[in-house]
Symmetry: C2
DNA sequence: GTCTATATTTGGATAGAC
DNA sequence: GTCTATCCAAATATAGAC
């Protein structure tokens, strides 16, 4: 009876590594030919199998997309440099935007899968989706901890981050043309916070309406 | 001989209206089911034809995508409210961003086709592409006319615009959550211009290096 | 200009032998 | 767990009759 366990472990290890290999191949194809160009035939060829064999590891093609989404969401969570945050507003904003834009730019296919809805039939499973949402949530939480509590400011900040990422990916893939603007953008945003009328860090004393 | 001309005109009129009808159907499908879900069969069904008949009007499916791209680029050119521009920096920036974000948000499928590379096999023809590029170029020209000449500032501005559009489309389709932030964003950007060290409108007298 | 018929490829997915 | 064989559906595209 003591022998049974390790055997089962080896099996599941091999199984997991096979699944990982399949997903790796899928990512390679997605990066090379586009996310929508991923097909079971091509994946199978890449891993030295026949297409039907893939069904031993994934129930469907969308299950593969979902596993890829889950991987990407996991990486997104791990990426965030919470240990680099100091509590200083400008510094922390810079760190977060650098992390986000870098994450997006380093793998456009992953960016497309996680943040854009471009695959006709596919929707991530609630669990996978929750992971990526939670990660975005932590950014918002830290913003609030820095004193950025106005929802409008938070939305503006996310727009700034995605805009930098989007332009970097679309118009200078592999380069750093928009990455080099991040600190400027953060400074601009921080100045706006100290100037604007919203309920933010260092708000102007008592200007305008106090509504909402 | 005088009769021959009008006959040919009627024919080409009918032909053009048939092509327009086909493109309309393609747009409908793209908006309803996603750009990548457009197929000849579905287009044909929508216009009351059989798939092969479409080849009397377009040489291939990609030719249809290209015609859609050209239409979108044309609309993009016409959209721009050059007549609303006054020369006042903040006002003009607001007008341009409102026009751009509104244009993108009112038809995400068009936005996807024009500004994102998501269809595996498709690339717009050089002519169609030139139209959309020229339109973006006119925005840059007007920015420069307003005194925004620093390339970095221009890049930052485009990032801001696309970020607002992208967030609006992705996270509040049909709404106006990010559209309502445009004037704030423009004010933020304008303040940044008057503060930053770049060679922009109202630069700070003589601060930092004069290089580049 | 539109159709039928067809070619050709490819896609995702299942059944069942081994 | 992997394969062959097969299915079924859908896709783009062409040929040729009407």
């Amino acid at each position: 009876m003591v022998i049974a366990e390790p055997v089962r472990d080896r099996r599941s290890e091999r199984r997991e590594s096979a699944k990982a290999e399949i997903l790796e191949a899928a990512w390679r194809i997605a990066r090379a030919e586009g996310l929508a160009a991923v097909s079971l035939g091509e994946i199978a060829r890449a891993v030295g199998m026949r297409p039907p064999s893939l069904y031993n590891y994934f129930d469907s093609k969308n299950a593969i997309y979902d596993a890829m989404f889950a991987q990407g969401a996991e990486e997104f969570v791990r990426m965030e440099p919470w240990d680099e945050l100091t509590g200083d507003l400008v510094h922390d904003l810079s760190v977060m935007v650098h992390a986000f834009v870098g994450f997006c730019a380093e793998d456009p296919a992953r960016y497309q899968l996680l943040f854009q809805r471009t695959i006709p039939g596919f929707e991530p499973s609630p669990e996978s989706y929750a992971v990526s949402e939670a990660s975005l949530g932590r950014i918002v939480v830290h913003l609030e901890r820095c004193g950025v509590t106005d929802p409008r400011s938070i939305d503006l900040f996310t727009a700034l981050g995605t805009g930098l990422a989007d332009q970097q990916i679309s118009n200078d893939p592999g380069g750093d043309r928009w990455i080099r603007l991040i600190d400027d953008a953060v400074e601009m945003f921080a100045n706006h916070l100290t100037t604007s009328t919203g309920g933010n860090a260092r708000p102007t004393p008592a200007k305008g309406n106090r509504a909402t």
